[in-house]
């Protein structure tokens, strides 16, 4: 392939004319090709970015609260994402009476922190209702929290196989009390 047939311009008079080799040395060309390959291999970003899918609950247009199905609060876990990488969690009581207290605690996003809380809550729901998948986690990020916190919290849902969760605005009355308690802005 690389050899080319070159018509011999036979000089009839000179019998000693040298036949020039028509072979081309391809080594430099190969060198160049591999150099460029190396460059393009390094310049290519092969790993595509991964994404996390988020489904937000459809906001109800007509503000009709009567139809809203109520979830038993004992099946829920509220996570309030605050600033300084702290997450505050509490469980609302089923019924609020005089003297009802709620347990409010703070933790971090590590495996020993938030994950342990979710695991514990899953066990509690399992005992109460017989199925740990009944657990409904309400993630309520406060404006001071970072995007990373939301991503981490959502990630914990995947890791702990929590099937029911939602990102909600901290709108409920109890949320404002909690926000006041932890001294953070709600809006």
């Amino acid at each position: 392939m690389a050899e080319m047939e070159v018509a011999d311009k036979g000089k009839k008079g000179n019998k000693r004319s040298k036949k020039l080799s028509t072979r081309v040395d391809l080594t430099p060309m190969v060198d160049l090709a591999f150099l460029l390959i190396t460059f393009f291999m390094l310049a290519t970003t092969m790993n595509k970015p991964k994404t996390m899918e988020i489904n937000k609950p459809v906001p109800d247009e007509n503000e009709d609260k009567t139809e809203e199905p109520t979830i038993k609060m004992s099946k829920t876990l509220n996570l309030m994402l605050g600033d300084n990488n702290k997450v505050y969690w509490y469980v609302s009581p089923d019924e609020i009476a005089v003297g009802t207290g709620i347990e409010l605690d703070s933790t971090d996003y590590s495996a020993n922190g938030l994950r342990a809380v979710i695991k514990r809550r899953q066990r509690e729901v399992q005992e109460l209702h017989g199925d740990k998948n009944e657990l409904f986690v309400m993630i309520k990020p406060l404006p001071g929290s970072k995007l990373k916190n939301t991503v981490d919290a959502l990630d914990e849902m995947t890791i702990n196989a929590v099937s029911k969760y939602a990102i909600l605005p901290p709108k409920e009355a109890i949320d404002s009390l909690v926000a006041l308690q932890i001294n953070q802005k709600r809006k």
Partner: protein, 203 residues
């Protein structure tokens, strides 16, 4: 005893085959390489264990910088042209071919739509040095133009299969992220993706 004759072999190796392979691979890499688009803002991605890859086509991308500025980008040139048509119609812009061509190649941008014609008529070096101020967030203001919502609606109108990817810096405050989410939800978009880097569960 007769001496065994050893045939002298040539040490020249035929490089043709190697050359072929080399250029074949080179062609492959040249064609598959997608250079990283020019970044409008430096973004440090949050990490998650999510495994879902970002789709190749039909992506509407929002970048949120650390200080909460929002940038907008479409991956497909046809959708970009269609969006620009719609914008010029609504805002009564008279754009020439050159400006349309510039918009078609715009990967990511963020500014008040009213400033768009000015930006598009800048020369190439001025454009690359231009600091994008971020999309105009006027949805909560009285008499706002709802620019972000309009962009979303008009882009989706020209390409209904668009998926929405949000690329936010990990230390962006939730407040600016939430502003974008609310804009999306006002456009009846309740499903979107957050771009993250990978990490393992053990952390």
């Amino acid at each position: 005893m007769a001496k065994a004759k050893i045939a002298r072999k040539s040490t020249v190796i035929d490089m043709t085959a190697m050359c072929d392979v080399g250029f074949l691979l080179l062609t492959f890499f040249i064609l598959t390489t997608k250079f990283r688009p020019q970044e409008v803002a430096q973004i440090d991605l949050p990490a998650s264990t999510a495994q879902f890859p970002l789709p190749d086509v039909n992506v509407m991308k929002f970048d949120i910088s650390q200080d909460g500025k929002i940038y907008f980008g479409l991956d497909d040139q046809h959708t970009r042209s269609a969006l620009l048509e719609r914008i010029s119609e609504e805002y009564k812009f008279n754009l020439d071919e050159e400006q349309k061509k510039v918009f078609k190649t715009l990967e990511l941008w963020g500014m008040d739509i009213n400033n768009l014609p000015n930006f598009l008529s800048m020369d190439a070096s001025a454009r690359s040095n231009f600091v994008h101020p971020g999309l105009k967030l006027d949805s909560t203001e009285v008499g706002g133009e709802h620019q972000v919502e309009n962009l979303i609606t008009w882009s989706r109108y020209s390409n209904p299969e668009l998926r929405i990817a949000i690329k936010g810096d990990k230390s962006t405050s939730y407040k600016s992220f939430d502003m974008l989410i609310q804009a999306l939800q006002r456009c009846k978009v309740n499903k979107f993706n957050i771009i993250t880097t990978e990490k393992t569960v053990a952390e």
